[in-house]
């Protein structure tokens, strides 16, 4: 087992990973930018090092500096978290070259699934149905218009290298498509270094349901059921739950088996998630694969009793999975809400200082925090500052617990989306399980 792991991330996920390392008796190395000098993840790490200026490309994406710190500290493995370098195949390769274990799948696998376009091709070859659309990059807006005219509007224009909802936009006509092509390509180039664009047919009111998989280096692959993540704003998830109240046991099994088949076809190892869009007839279509831990992994941990970060570390150290598909049990219902530093109505970011932070307590509540009282929320990073996960013995109970917890959650000094989350939790449509990706537009004022 590793004696020392470097966590190449920040905020709530860095804290979460370090917590498991501590439980496993593994020493932790943290990294921070100038903007994160007083961040909670730094205080939690056994040792921490400044990696650069506030912007991510000066610090958290500074591969050479991170590897230098890893080598100097005697780090044996690196956990990349999510976002940042987590799906950077070049980083994973360089870790290997430096004699460090990258906690995740092999670089070739990351590269293959990191392009949404390539991953679609791969899945089709594996016999998994994909969301109807293209499997090659669009050379320009003119080609995009030609393709969509044939396919039919509305269409979903997407950046192949995108993530976090960035670089994707629904387009209803040619004018919108042309404008969206230019702006999203620029955004994709700026944020992900890759402006390749493609289009998919826009499925009406789909549900975003994803399957968690776990695979060891020997090819043993399991599915840990699904997460329902349809409630989104700006195409970014806000509320996630496990299990999904929409799919039946047969569909659940089919999706799990499709996910395992997909993972095996690419030689996947470690934790990963296969995302599907599910239509009103319960047909499911491959959307993309995330070759890393997901933000919303806690809901799966709550219903299975497993620690996914622990599983990741064990797999990376060469251990075989000590679970089998038949062994896995699930119990109850879990809902996670993402707390963003933003205006609850306009969703505009709200950087600033947190002057008060009071958290709900109880055995049904689990917190992940990237901030504390007096923390400065800066504009350099994603607006996610905390996650709240609640459980219940069934979905109704979980929703009631969620309402109670949100009522007691107090953050002052910055704006947050907590009022919006309260509105969702109180809404009859949410209770009824009418959760499609259209939820926010349709039900919230």
């Amino acid at each position: 087992m590793f004696k020392k792991i470097l966590i190449a991330n920040r905020g709530e996920i860095a804290v979460r990973i370090m917590r498991t390392c501590r439980l496993m008796g593994i020493s932790t190395v943290g990294i921070y930018s100038e903007a994160d000098k007083n961040a909670p993840h730094i205080k939690m790490a056994d040792e921490a090092y400044l990696v650069g200026g506030p912007r991510v490309n000066e610090s958290y994406l500074n591969i050479d500096k991170i590897l230098e710190i890893a080598k100097e500290t005697g780090t044996e493995a690196i956990h990349p978290g999510y976002g940042l370098l987590a799906e950077n195949a070049a980083f994973a390769s360089k870790c290997e070259e430096a004699g460090l274990v990258f906690i995740g799948p092999r670089p070739e696998v990351i590269a293959r699934m990191g392009s949404k376009i390539e991953s679609r091709k791969t899945m089709m070859q594996a016999g998994v149905l994909v969301v109807p659309g293209l499997t090659y990059p669009l050379p320009d807006a003119d080609e995009a218009v030609k393709v969509v005219e044939e396919m039919g509007y509305p269409a979903m224009l997407k950046a192949s290298a995108g993530g976090g909802g960035i670089g994707m936009q629904i387009v209803n006509n040619e004018a919108e498509l042309r404008q969206a092509f230019a702006s999203n390509q620029k955004r994709a180039t700026d944020f992900f270094g890759d402006g390749a664009m493609y289009v998919e047919k826009y499925l009406e009111n789909p549900r975003h349901i994803e399957i968690q998989i776990l695979a060891d280096n020997q090819g043993n692959t399991l599915y840990l059921w699904e997460r329902e993540c349809s409630i989104q704003r700006r195409h970014q998830k806000v509320v996630e739950e496990a299990p999904s109240s929409f799919i039946d046991e047969i569909t659940r099994q089919k999706m799990g088996e499709a996910a395992v088949k997909a993972a095996k076809s690419i030689g996947y190892s470690n934790a990963g998630t296969i995302e599907f869009l599910v239509d009103s007839h319960k047909n499911f279509y491959f959307l993309e694969m995330n070759t890393r831990l997901q933000v919303e992994h806690p809901v799966t941990e709550v219903i299975t009793g497993l620690d996914l970060v622990e599983q990741q570390i064990k797999i990376a150290s060469g251990q075989t999975l000590d679970l089998s598909q038949a062994d896995l049990q699930r119990q109850g219902h879990a809902i996670e809400v993402r707390i963003y530093a933003e205006d609850p109505k306009t969703f505009f970011p709200s950087p600033g200082k947190i002057t008060k932070l009071v958290l709900p307590e109880g055995s049904e509540v689990r917190h992940e925090l990237g901030v504390e009282e007096e923390s400065q929320v800066t504009p350099f990073y994603d607006p996610l500052i905390a996650k709240l996960t609640v459980k219940g013995s069934n979905r109704d109970e979980a929703i009631t617990n969620l309402q109670k917890a949100l009522a007691d959650y107090q953050i002052e000094g910055i704006k947050t989306n907590i009022p919006m989350l309260r509105e969702v939790a109180a809404h009859q449509a949410f209770r009824d399980g009418d959760t499609t990706t259209n939820f926010v537009a349709k039900y919230l004022k």
Partner: protein, 70 residues
């Protein structure tokens, strides 16, 4: 003279105007990037761009003067 002020902390992503341009009230003059989102900053009064106080990729705080109009 009127000033266009930044509404929040962020990075200057794009400057949409040049010195000498005639600006209408409500016209977007600068796009900031903050927490991975584009924030359009509009001029509250019409006028001619007299001076651009910032450069692209620079960091600005809430309340910083971005553009001076006359």
């Amino acid at each position: 003279m009127s000033k266009v002020i930044s509404t929040m902390a962020g990075n200057v992503w794009k400057i949409l105007v040049s010195v000498g341009d005639q600006i209408e009230e409500g016209q977007n003059v600068v796009i900031l990037e903050s927490m991975k989102m584009e924030i359009h900053i509009a001029a509250e009064k019409s006028g001619t761009v007299r001076e651009i106080k910032i450069n692209e990729s620079e960091f600005v705080n809430e309340g910083d003067v971005l553009i001076e109009l006359e």
